[in-house]
Symmetry: C2
Subunit: 247 residues, 2 copies
């Protein structure tokens, strides 16, 4: 048995692993579509017509269907039987639901990681934080722009924090929820009118984790997740007034 494909987000498959990666058409489509949805390029509710989507990604119906099926089970795409697929709708209620569960699973994973983490785990946290903080510091304060690099390292950092958690299931669910949250954040960023205000939440979180202070880490994590959601809700609510609820 070689490499079992995990259900979701394996962080990032490097373009090369040994003798050249073997990607699949359906897998590529899945990742591409996921990226488009996560960065808000495809809007919630938008219909994903086969012919158009197919052409855009350059693949056959069956493969596209496979990719979409995968996204459905991750909650990023909705499927109406025999009426095709569409980008999953968003709602403040759903975001609150996601947040509530995240506030349970993230601390759970974090405490596990703190308990089991080794030197490599610590190093990885430091490394990803470094990358993230550089980008975070530089990142343009111009609203309305979804920064791919920022998202990437933000995710990598959060992933690194909990990477030492030995529970596969917890990690899996956590990852799905994180992803869903990210979509909301991206949507709110795209609609944001005020510049983002930077914070040192991530640094403090990292420090608590590295000093193996479970209680502090949990508190900071919950605060981080909760506050992020609050900002997102504000931005979405404001945008919705202009939109007339278009998203």
């Amino acid at each position: 048995m070689t490499s079992i494909e995990t259900v979701s987000a394996d962080g990032e498959n490097k373009p090369e692993n040994g003798a050249g990666t073997k990607s699949t058409v359906a897998g590529d489509a899945y990742r591409k579509l996921r990226a488009l949805i996560l960065q808000g390029a495809l809007l919630p509710g938008q219909k994903l017509k086969f012919e158009a989507t197919q052409q855009e990604l350059g693949l056959s119906a069956s493969s596209l269907r496979e990719a979409l099926t995968r996204l459905v089970s991750e909650g990023l795409v909705a499927s109406a039987q025999r009426r095709g697929f569409s980008v999953a709708p968003v709602s403040i209620e759903e975001l609150e639901d996601i947040t509530r569960l995240r506030n349970i699973l993230e601390p759970l994973a974090l405490r596990d990681a703190i308990e089991h983490g080794d030197d490599a785990w610590e190093a990885q946290i430091l490394a990803t934080y470094h990358r993230f903080s550089k980008i975070d510091a530089v990142q343009g304060d111009a609203p309305g722009i979804v920064d791919e690099q920022w998202s990437h390292w933000h995710r990598a950092f959060h992933e690194a924090l909990v990477a030492a958690c030995p529970s596969r299931k917890t990690m899996q669910f956590r990852s799905v929820l994180f992803e869903q949250s990210e979509r909301y954040r991206a949507l709110s960023v795209a609609r944001r009118t005020q510049p983002r205000k930077k914070s040192d939440e991530h640094r403090r979180l990292m420090e608590a984790v590295l000093s193996r202070d479970g209680d502090a880490a949990e508190a900071l994590m919950i605060r981080h997740v909760t506050m992020t959601t609050e900002f997102v809700i504000q931005a979405l609510a404001a945008a919705q007034q202009d939109d007339g609820g278009r998203i």
Copy 2:
């Protein structure tokens, strides 16, 4: 917007809804395969060759692929890139992982349900418990037989208990974990040598829930989940000695 297909187990789609159900080939295959895996007819690790599986279910490669993809994301099937699919392997560690998370999510959903449940919810609990208890009382004590009816009403009862929980995400994850647990239980039943000993756990659980006693319900639920897992582990460990770990 009519009916959005949910990610997993909608309990059971009735054969008729209004003007005749519209099933899809891929969806049927998905349900059929899932049933086979859950009742242990397909053994863990077993390769799911396309030609054979396709013929058995009578469908094309693409549709089968779609069904398998769905099962992968529910953790019942494993996919090795370009080397096809196989029934997800089992391990005591995984079962313990599943159990640990279930012991968090089930009580969470249960407390929510107790808080929000209305008369219809109570009625449904009573109804499904009635069906379940009848079958549970009669059920042959002969080991080695997986009773479809028992499984069905057992699941329905547990689903009914938490049905009033308003958190979609919690319900979704709970459902996935319940399903995975069921597979382990089925596998242990098939290998069980001693007759099952009946208990009144379910009745007491129901009573606590209906009397809206969250603490008692939580305690009973955790006990139920934990003890079930312990039995399963015992049976699997015993069987593994004979098998030489074949499953």
